[in-house]
């Protein structure tokens, strides 16, 4: 197979030019809240105030660094919604599919509470409980807050968070505060009703269904008011935005500026998921999602002093586990009913202390290797794909990876810039030749793929596609290995052994996840 650029870089140039222009605004939201809110989602304790670090250090969604180590779970107690989005169809459910708004079984607050304890006992690094649907948590306030109440009594060490469309957020700030929910996510796809009317067909507000531009205007006002109120109350807020090419892709820069100035802590720009079989409006109209490089260009442009989240897996409203893995099938209501659950906070703490040690070791290894890059000068930037099961290590086989994490290497070090979901290449011990090209397309913009192990056949195919399969850092720390690799790469370029060439674009995987794990 030849190395192929699936989407030419020139196709995304108009967007890039605009982004270059607007990327100059870098003012960070400091109105209210705890001062400087710029802390890079991959930042460490040195980059933020102690009180903010305390809130995010083991929250996998609010800290990129934490997401390699800590797990989260969602409980699906909130089925109702008060708005309609063109990228959402809550009628559709498939256990093998992962995207927001989708869930296999709804829970009562009591069932949810038992599930949380069961998961917390089985997965001691599970530190965060979120309510994210499958509808809107604040369109189901009684169920949502009852769940928080039950969990805060039985498992007070678990962080509570919720994710909302923001329509009724201003009405619930006091209650959110009373349950010590200190992380709230608002999905804000626009700050201009002209744009919003193409995303939201209607909202239900004050006993009336509003449509079109009026609906978008009300929604936007309520979202921004809610965000300001969160900031004023010292509650960390993440803003999610769905990137919809041709509808709000350019506009999201303006959204970024609007939420930053109102004190949002983190901005998460996600690609539209719109496969026709999902039955969403966008799926049926053929609205495409962005390519990997289009998404990265927009994220890069918004990354002034504002933290950009790039490790979001757009998980289901009942997801369980590390981001990127889903263990919800182990914790169905039927299985939980049969479990004897004993909540042991001491064991959980002991385990989390171990995780903290691992994490420190990883940071130390990175710092050590980074010292070797000091003084190196080069404009070269490379992307690498990494097969990992967590802990910040290269510890997954190529054929067993259901996703690759992507790091950008430069003389500044190794920076996590995203991830790519893929279908499993290896099933039952045999490689699937039909799957390999889709894996290559998903990491086509990467120069190398770091794995714990790889078979001869995919190795040759990757080389033919111009991607270097690297297994010499098996079970080592990702960042240290990546920096070492980059140093060797620069040396080879300097010695004239290789010529640096930039790669093409890559696909963002759409559609149902069908391969069995």
């Amino acid at each position: 197979m030849e190395a192929t650029a699936y989407v030419g870089v020139q196709e995304i140039k108009p967007l890039q030019q605009l982004l270059d222009k607007v990327a100059e605004h870098k003012g960070c939201g400091t109105s209210g809240g705890s001062g400087k809110s710029s802390c890079g989602s991959s930042a460490g304790p040195a980059d933020m105030s102690p009180e903010v670090w305390e809130k995010v250090k083991n929250h996998p969604c609010y800290s990129e660094e934490a997401h390699h180590h800590y797990a989260r779970m969602h409980v699906a107690v909130a089925p109702a919604c008060n708005i309609q989005c063109n990228y959402c169809n809550r009628k559709y459910d498939c256990a093998n599919e992962s995207r927001p708004g989708v869930v296999s079984e709804k829970l009562t607050p009591e069932q949810a509470s038992k599930k949380v304890l069961a998961v917390a006992s089985a997965i001691p690094q599970m530190t965060v409980l979120g309510i994210a649907g499958p509808g809107d948590p604040l369109a189901n306030p009684e169920k949502t807050f009852k769940t928080f109440e039950l969990i805060s009594k039985t498992a007070p060490d678990i962080k509570l968070c919720l994710s909302t469309n923001g329509l009724t957020l201003p009405d619930h700030i006091d209650t959110i505060k009373s349950f010590n929910v200190d992380h709230v996510t608002i999905t804000i796809n626009m700050v201009d009703p002209e744009v919003g009317q193409h995303i939201y067909p209607w909202i239900y507000y004050q006993n009336k269904r509003w449509k079109g531009i009026e609906a978008a205007r009300i929604l936007s006002e309520r979202q921004l008011l809610g965000l300001e109120m969160l900031t004023a109350n010292g509650i960390l807020c993440k803003v999610n935005s769905v990137m919809i090419p041709g509808i709000n892709d350019h506009h999201l820069v303006e959204v970024n500026r609007a939420v930053k100035s109102r004190g949002a802590f983190l901005h998460n720009i996600m690609p539209l998921i719109s496969a026709p079989e999902h039955g969403t409006v966008f799926g049926l109209t053929g609205q495409r999602g962005p390519t990997a490089q289009e998404l990265k260009a927009l994220q890069d442009a918004c990354e002034g002093e504002m933290n950009m989240m790039r490790h979001c897996r757009q998980c289901r409203a009942d997801a369980v586990g590390l981001l990127g893995e889903d263990r919800s099938a182990e914790f169905t209501t039927e299985k939980i009913d049969a479990m004897e659950v004993e909540y042991d906070a001491t064991t959980r703490q002991a385990y989390q202390d171990l995780v903290e040690e691992q994490r420190q070791a990883k940071v130390a290894a990175k710092q050590e290797e980074l010292a070797g890059l000091a003084g190196a000068e080069s404009d070269i930037k490379l992307l690498i794909a990494v097969a990992t099961k967590g802990e910040g290590k290269i510890n997954e086989h190529f054929g067993h990876a259901s996703e690759f994490q992507v790091y950008e290497l430069s003389t500044g070090g190794a920076k996590f810039v995203g991830h790519r979901r893929v279908d499993l290449y290896c099933q039952g011990g045999f490689g699937d030749e039909d799957t390999l090209p889709t894996v290559v397309r998903a990491i086509n913009d990467c120069h190398a793929v770091f794995v714990a192990k790889i078979g001869g056949c995919p190795r040759d195919e990757l080389k033919a596609a111009g991607i270097d399969p690297v297994d010499r850092y098996a079970y080592e720390f990702i960042e240290r290995s990546a920096i070492a690799y980059f140093r060797e790469y620069l040396d080879k370029v300097a010695a004239g052994e290789i010529v640096h060439e930039s790669r093409g674009d890559a696909d963002i995987r759409q559609g149902a996840y069908v391969a069995a794990a």
Binding site: R90, K91, P134, E142, Y204, R209
Partner: protein
């Protein structure tokens, strides 16, 4: 007069249940049903039937043609 929920289309999301001013909506297994004895089509309460306004699936909360429509509509409009 009454509205009814098309069982095949109801997703069981429960959005309508708390919005009904007459408490006419209740869960039946995994979906919701409207008690026609209690339903007033929201006349006198709101400008539009609340179940219709909030339901995420079009044409799922519809007028129950088998139930005699009351004169309230005419009374209010006259």
């Amino acid at each position: 007069m009454a509205y009814t929920i098309v069982a095949d289309q109801c997703t069981g999301c429960c959005a309508c249940e708390p919005e009904c001013p007459n408490k006419a909506i209740s869960a039946e297994k995994s979906i919701f049903v409207i008690d026609p004895e209690k339903c007033t089509e929201c006349i006198g309460h709101f400008d539009e039937p609340q179940c219709v306004a909030v339901c995420p699936i079009d044409d799922t909360c519809i007028i129950d043609e088998t139930w005699p429509r009351q004169e309230a509509v005419e009374e209010i409009s006259s």
